[in-house]
C-alpha cells in the first residue's frame, strides 16, 4: 500500500468535505435546529473520520470523533445548539483543514496548539460550555488563494502548458521522407497528435469554475465580516452555474473582498437601524453573474444605505470646480464614478467613506487590467450596486476561423449565417463598402478573396459604431468551424476597439476574435 499516494487522495477528498462542512455550518447557524442540516454535517464529519481511520491518522480521526459526537446530539435534538457551539465546530473545521494539510506535508498534526483547546472544548457536552474560554474572533481576512479544486490548479496549468508544448513539439519534427520513416509511423504520429490535442483541449476546460464555487469562497469571510462589524449579513449568489475562468476570478478575489468589506462596513446598517428603517435585520449581499452576448457581467450589490452623495458633491465643487447645475446634470453613473478618481481622497471625510479610497483604487486597476468596465449605482437607503462587465472572458465558443491578408481571425459561429465561395470576376457592388479588409487596414494587394461570410444579425443587436453594419465579410480562405478557447484581449488589443478576444485553436495556433458589435 503506497501510503503517501493515499494520503494525497485523502487530503484532496477531505478538503472537499471540509468546504462543504463549512458551508453547512454557516447554514445551520441561521437555522440552528434544522436536523436535516445537522444530519448532513454529521455525515460529512463521519466521512472524514472514516478516511482518516483507514489511513491511521489518529489525531484527525479523534477530532472528527469529538465533533461527530456533538453533531449527533444536535441532530437528534437532544441538545439545542447555539451560536457558540457552532463557532466551536467551525474552529474545529478550520483546525481539521490545517491538520489534514499537515498530514500531507508530513508534519505533526497534533502539534497545533489549537487542537488542545478545541479538544478540551469538545470534550465537554455542548450545553455545558464554559463560555469564557472562548477566544476573540480572529481578524477576518480574505479567503486563501484558490489553489485547489479537485486537482491542484498549478498542476492543471502545468498540464496545460506541457501538453501545449508537446503539441508544439510536433512542429519541430524533422521532415522525413517516406523511406526514412517506418511504415505506419506517420499515421501513428497523427493519431498520437490528435489524442494530445484532445487532451489539451479538455485540460483547458479545467480552467473554468462555476461562479457558485467562487462565490462560496466568500461565504465565510462575509460571515466573519458581519461578525467583525456587528452586522447581520448573508451572501446571495445569482447565476451561480455560469462557468468562468479561474485565473480571471482569482484576479478578482482581492477586489471583491474590498467591495464586500466596504459593503458590510459602510453599506449595510446595523440590524437595529435596519429594523427602524423597515428593512429586514439581515442585510443582503448579492453576487450575481450574468453572461451577455460577448461579456461577463458581475454584480456586487447590497441593500444598505447607499453612497452618500454629499462628499462627492463637495469634491466636485471644490476640487474639480464644477458648478451645482453641472453636478446635478451629471448622469448617475458618472456621478458615482467620481469615487474612482485617483485624487479622490477620503482622508478628511466622514467615517462612512473611510477606507473606500484605497480599496477603490485596487478594484479599478484590476478591472482595467482585464479590459473591463465598472459601473456604480447607488440609491440612498436602498443600496449600492457595483457592476463589473468584463469582455468575453475565458470561455470556449465555436467560431469560424478565416484568413484575410496576413491575419488569421475568427467570427463567432452564432453570427455567421453562411459561407459562400466568391466567384472570380469583376468586383461586385458593395465589395468595397464596409470591406473588412479595408477596416482592418490590410493592403488590398495582399488580398486573394475567395470566400464570403454572410453574417446574421441576431435579434437585439445594435448597429455598430461605423454606422452601417456589415452584412458580409470578404475573406481569403476559411480554415474551418471549430471550438476556440477565448482569452481576454489585453489592454493593448482592447485599444483597437475591434477585437473581443484572442482565440486559441486546438493545435495552439491563434485566431483573433472579432467583436461583432463593434465591426
Amino acid at each position: 500500500m503506497d501510503i503517501d499516494k493515499y494520503k494525497k487522495i485523502f487530503v484532496q477528498e477531505s478538503a472537499n468535505y471540509l468546504q462543504e462542512l463549512t458551508t453547512g455550518l454557516i447554514r445551520v447557524e441561521q437555522d440552528l435546529c434544522n436536523s436535516n442540516l445537522w444530519s448532513e454535517i454529521h455525515g460529512k464529519i463521519h466521512s472524514i473520520k472514516g478516511m482518516a481511520r483507514a489511513l491511521s491518522l489518529e489525531a484527525v480521526s479523534n477530532l472528527c470523533h469529538q465533533m461527530e459526537a456533538w453533531c449527533k446530539e444536535f441532530q437528534a435534538g437532544t441538545t439545542a445548539p447555539d451560536a457558540a457551539a457552532v463557532q466551536i465546530l467551525m474552529d474545529g473545521t478550520d483546525l481539521l483543514k490545517k491538520m489534514t494539510e499537515a498530514e500531507a506535508s508530513g508534519a505533526d498534526p497534533a502539534a497545533d496548539p489549537e487542537l488542545k483547546r478545541i479538544s478540551a472544548l469538545l470534550a465537554c457536552r455542548p450545553d455545558k460550555l464554559d463560555r469564557q474560554t472562548q477566544t476573540e474572533p480572529h481578524p477576518v481576512a480574505a479567503p486563501s488563494p484558490i489553489d485547489r479544486i479537485r486537482v491542484d490548479y498549478a498542476l492543471i496549468e502545468e498540464l496545460l502548458a506541457r501538453s501545449q508544448e508537446i503539441i508544439l513539439l510536433e512542429k519541430t519534427l524533422p521532415p522525413l521522407s517516406h523511406q526514412q520513416m517506418a511504415a505506419g509511423l506517420k499515421s501513428w504520429i497523427d493519431h498520437y497528435m490528435a489524442m494530445l490535442r484532445g487532451l489539451h483541449f479538455q485540460l483547458a476546460r479545467l480552467r473554468l469554475m462555476p461562479v457558485q464555487d467562487f462565490a462560496s469562497l466568500f461565504e465565510k469571510p462575509v460571515r466573519d465580516l458581519g461578525k467583525a462589524y456587528g452586522r447581520e449579513v448573508k451572501l446571495n449568489v445569482a447565476g451561480g452555474d455560469l462557468q468562468v475562468d479561474i485565473g480571471l476570478m482569482d484576479r478578482l478575489r482581492e477586489p471583491f473582498m474590498h467591495l464586500l468589506r466596504n459593503a458590510v462596513a459602510h453599506g449595510i446598517e446595523p440590524p437595529d437601524e435596519r429594523e427602524r428603517m423597515g428593512k429586514s435585520r439581515e442585510g443582503t449581499l448579492v453576487l450575481a453573474a450574468d453572461k451577455r452576448r460577448d461579456s461577463l457581467v458581475l454584480t456586487v450589490g447590497d441593500d444598505g444605505r447607499g453612497i452618500d452623495p454629499n462628499p462627492i458633491r463637495r469634491y466636485l465643487r471644490e476640487v474639480v470646480g464644477m458648478s451645482d447645475p453641472e453636478i446635478s446634470a451629471m448622469p448617475r453613473e458618472d456621478f458615482f464614478r467620481t469615487i474612482l478618481r485617483l485624487d479622490y481622497s477620503s482622508a478628511d471625510e466622514t467615517t462612512q467613506l473611510a477606507g473606500r479610497g484605497i480599496g477603490m483604487d485596487v478594484i479599478a486597476k484590476a478591472i482595467e487590467c482585464l479590459s473591463g468596465a465598472l459601473a456604480i449605482d447607488s440609491e440612498p437607503s436602498r443600496g449600492t450596486r457595483f457592476v463589473i462587465s468584463l469582455p468575453l472572458s475565458l470561455s470556449i465558443i465555436h467560431a469560424i476561423v478565416f484568413r484575410i491578408g496576413p491575419y488569421t481571425l475568427a467570427a463567432p459561429t452564432s453570427h455567421v449565417a453562411s459561407i459562400q465561395r466568391r466567384r472570380n470576376g469583376p468586383s461586385q457592388e458593395g465589395d468595397h463598402n464596409n470591406d473588412l479588409g479595408l477596416r482592418l487596414g490590410i493592403d488590398p494587394r495582399e488580398r486573394k478573396p475567395g470566400f464570403i461570410l454572410k453574417l446574421r444579425q441576431p435579434a437585439g443587436t445594435e448597429h455598430g459604431t461605423s454606422g452601417q453594419p456589415a452584412d458580409h465579410f470578404m475573406v481569403d480562405a476559411v480554415v474551418g468551424n471549430m471550438p476556440l478557447m477565448v482569452m481576454p484581449p489585453g489592454e493593448l488589443l482592447a485599444k483597437t476597439g475591434t477585437f473581443a478576444g484572442v482565440g486559441i485553436m486546438e493545435d495552439g495556433d491563434i485566431a483573433i476574435l472579432l467583436d461583432m458589435e463593434r465591426i
Binding site: E157, L409, R439, G441, E491, L492, G508, D509, I510
Partner: protein, 131 residues
Amino acid sequence: MDCFVFEAGGKRLGIEARCVYRVADDARPAAVPLAPPCHVGVIYYRGDLFDVVDAGLLLGDRSSLKDENPYVILLKWDQHKLGLIPERIAGMKWIEAPKGAEDVFTHDGRRIRLIAPEDIWRLLSDLSYGH
C-alpha cells in the same frame, strides 16, 4: 541587482530581473490588425497571452527581426504580460544599482541603459491602435 541585459535597436538595455519570466524561442506571434508596426503579434505561451513587440523598433532605431524564429523575452509584472524581441541576448547580469543616473556600468565595462517595464508599457500604450 540582477538585471537582464539585451541589445535592441542599436542600444544595450537592461530590465530588472523581477519582471523577466522566461525566454521563449519557438513562438510564432499571430499578427494583429490595426496594431502599430512594432507590435508583431500575440503568442499563447504556457497558458498566458503575451503581446509581442519588436524591441528594436519600440526602444531603438532599427528592427530586431532577422529570422523566422526569434528569441522572445517574456516579461510578467503586475497584471501585464509582454514579449520583447531583441537583437541579441546577453543574459542575466549582476550590476551595481544606478545612483540616480540612467546609465550604469557592468563589470565588463559596457554601458547599459536600464528601463523599467512600466516605461515600456507606457510607450506602447501611447502608440496608436486602430484607424
